[in-house]
Symmetry: C2
Subunit: 346 residues, 2 copies
């Protein structure tokens, strides 16, 4: 709809006040569902708003109220499937509640700056969602002391609100599946080898946690992971390919490979195919994520409901902003999805 007078630009609160025969204060109250407004007055205001096609200028209301109705999301990579799903979940909840979402990528070096709230977010957000911040408990305590409410996604930190899966358990689930099939010689393709160095605290990283659960289960079966059977795949398809090539070139290759992400598993499957082998028969591969494409390549994997993590994180943050207390940690469950890339050892 065009405004009543297209030449004068968008209608302002003054236009509405004049049209409804009330003060701007009343218009503002009526629109924000302030309790003390007479029903008749509210109706008159609403009618005027409708007639003039009025929408409040968000910059003006933000400046006046100090509330931005915007939340910021900071993630190391924006283009991965994982981040995409997370963003989708967060966005869903934000738009349901009329919140804007401001997205930024934060390379690890930016982490320090982050604790004092990124300049890009300065006075623009009411709260922040941090993805894979990998800050450890020390950093988390700094985050908790920030004036901006924060929730962390992807890892479980005691000092700050968070939503994540249980990564130790995920690693264990993968190992147990392979063990049950009868595998005794199992390799792992992990990622984020460079992360250890950057950690602020001594807490295990997400890949380390998965490794731990995995090794625990192996140990219970009396198996020790050989160091030559642990490779870094950089959490990329290409990395998975290279690592798998190395593993399958061993004089005595493993019968199964656990990839810490589905994308690395895709690379593994590619290598296996290119070598004329069949996954699930000659070599077993299990991934982690349940990426959109996993089903179509028949990949057995540990499914994490990433979008749900995003939703939960956003709801948690909005809850805090609405005046709730720090709500602690929200766990999201994991499922083993068995498809065709795992089978009994050759």
């Amino acid at each position: 709809m065009a405004d009543t007078d297209p030449l004068s630009g968008p209608a302002t609160i003054d236009d509405v006040a004049r049209e409804a025969g009330v003060s701007t204060a009343t218009v503002s109250r009526a629109l924000r569902n302030h309790p003390y407004v007479a029903d008749a007055t509210r109706d008159r205001v609403l009618a005027a708003v409708d007639r003039l096609n009025y929408v409040a200028n968000p910059n003006a209301s933000r400046l006046a109220s100090g509330i931005t109705r915007t939340i910021g999301l900071l993630a190391p990579v924006l283009t991965s499937w994982y981040t995409g799903e997370l963003v989708a979940g967060v966005e869903e909840v934000c738009s349901e509640h009329g919140y804007d979402l401001l997205i930024g990528s934060a390379d690890p070096e930016a982490r320090e700056r982050l604790f004092h709230t990124d300049a890009r977010f300065h006075q623009r957000i009411d709260g922040a969602i941090l993805v894979d911040v990998m800050c450890g408990e020390v950093g988390a305590r700094q985050l908790a002391e920030l004036d901006t409410p924060v929730v962390v996604l992807g890892e479980h930190l005691a000092a700050v609100a968070s939503a994540s899966i249980d990564n130790v358990k995920g690693g264990r689930m993968a190992a147990e599946h392979l063990l049950e099939l009868g595998h005794r010689r199992i390799a792992v393709i992990k990622g984020g080898a460079h992360l250890e160095v950057e950690r602020i605290s001594g807490l295990p990283t997400v890949p380390d946690q998965r490794m731990q659960g995995f090794c625990d289960a192996l140990a219970e079966a009396g198996i020790t992971l050989r160091s030559a059977d642990t490779r870094d795949g950089d959490f990329t398809i290409r990395g998975g390919r290279v690592a798998t090539n190395a593993l399958l070139s061993l004089a005595h290759p493993p019968t199964a490979v656990f990839c810490l992400s589905d994308e690395m598993a895709f690379g593994a499957l590619q290598t296996i195919r290119e070598r004329g082998l069949v996954a699930g028969r000659d070599v077993s591969v299990i991934g982690f994520d349940d990426h959109t494409v996993a089903e179509s390549v028949g990949l057995t994997t540990i499914r994490q409901r990433v979008r749900e993590i995003g939703r939960l994180g956003a709801r948690t943050l909005l809850g805090v902003l609405a005046g709730g207390a720090n709500p602690g940690h929200h766990p999201v469950d994991l499922t083993l999805v068995v498809r065709s890339t795992t089978g009994t050892p050759a």
Copy 2:
């Protein structure tokens, strides 16, 4: 860094003015690289800014100047690989130029509203990027008349700035590849069957354009596409699976399938594998996009540089905002990537 006086909240322009011994007008000018500021004064201001760790409140400057330094992006789906790449490209350019990016999803029904600028974007953006708006020339003319500068991504419209591939050519490239391999009986899995109805003008949709190039090439080889060989795959993996199942169940199945997106091709490959067939030997499959996972499944495809489309679109829009004229259409090139899912007919 903490502010000098943490109790008083973030520093304002008044604090800086006082600290530097100048007026707020001068601070503002110095910070925005206004020409008429003495070098010595500018230095003094910058030093004060640094000392107080000042960052301008964006809401205040937006309100005062009417410039938001924000661009809006509207896409039908936010979670697809395609949109993800596009957003990444746009975001890259935006952050380079200090622009915020506001993202919204626009279901087809919202298209009408869109022409009068979405309420979510009201007074929040300087310009908009519209993805797959499918509005045709009539709608495009409406867009061009908007007070908000707009660039359209994914289709070529005469009336409004745009960046896209040549979809007709893409369809032709796919057909020619299959024809050269010797295929004569080729099926197509298209998507967006419901789109036709919703179109405002009579212009062919993106899938129609690809179909046209494809059929043109077939016609030149003396081949007519049978109607039973055209299926809708909804641009999803599952849709590709279902459609391929139907095609391979025909008494006389095609020897090759052109999928209008890689995701549908992934579904096709799944079906082929599940039927115990081998893609590239028993049936050829060619996709469209060069999705991140395409290489690892050996998919032959028509590569479009989606991220580059996003970058180009953003640069174009920023150019218009900087005072450039409507810059017309920006074509992005296409490449045939031959991998293992296509081969000579069985």
